[in-house]
Point group: C2
Chain length 155, copies 2
């Protein structure tokens, strides 16, 4: 967490999740967060691509996500990008902002899973705004490392 | 909006409100936002007062809110503080972050009212963490000017 606003955002996000859990919203709140993230990802990309020339191809878009989009939210680029060249991309962030101050125990890894809906939604929304329909899932291997898998959907 | 994270936070907040409205949550979502803001305000103050000496009195606390707390979230101090010396304080921010990029028409002023629950909650939570129970209300006179009234509650 580099700047105060990140702290505020993280606390807000955490308190929102606590609130939903407290109100017994089961797993529905994760869908809500994913959807709000999706809309927010779209809006962010709409803003930051205003003066960007058109993208050449799919890989060009993914690279934009890994650099500009990631930096806009997380103040850093992703640490690794892999693809199977068949429509699956895996983005790795070795110090994912939402987890960088979190204790590294197994209990917390389980706890952190619920913090993944929002960033998955942000990523899916960003790609959707750039014309890419996809399914985004995330997994935590060892905190604070986080991997996001993008599975492109044929339109 | 000074830094990218403010933009992200503002977009997230706006999309969250849109989502709640879309789902016909009536006015309940404003209470939800106020409550999540309250918890977040508490957490922020808990963090930023770790190494702060104890406050001398009520006015000392209010001044801390106007300077340190406000700066933490909105990157500036408040522009004006008034009190009737009978438990009511009015804080004025002449360029309130949530509204600084908003069109200044009457329609938008009405629209903006729903963006006040979160900052009211943040403020009430911050004061609660410092031992002050209060009611916080807000009003927009002319965008982007925003006034917050703090009415202390006898405990």
């Amino acid at each position: 967490m580099n700047a105060p606003m990140d702290v505020v955002f993280n606390l807000f996000h955490g308190n929102m999740i606590d609130y939903f859990i407290q109100k017994n919203e089961n797993k529905d709140y994760l869908d809500k967060l994913e959807f709000i993230g999706f809309k927010t990802g779209q809006s962010i990309v709409e803003r930051i691509t205003k003066d960007t020339p058109k993208f050449k191809n799919e890989l060009d878009i993914i690279k934009f996500i890994c650099k500009e989009f990631w930096t806009q939210i997380y103040h850093k680029q992703v640490d690794n990008l892999k693809t199977n060249h068949q429509g699956i991309y895996v983005i790795q962030d070795n110090d994912f902002m939402f987890f960088s101050k979190v204790s590294k125990t197994k209990k917390f890894t389980e706890e952190c899973v619920k913090f993944l809906s929002l960033p998955c939604g942000l990523l899916r929304g960003a790609l959707s705004q750039l014309g890419i329909n996809c399914i985004v899932t995330a997994e935590i291997e060892n905190l604070p490392i986080c991997k996001f898998q993008i599975e492109l959907q044929k339109s």
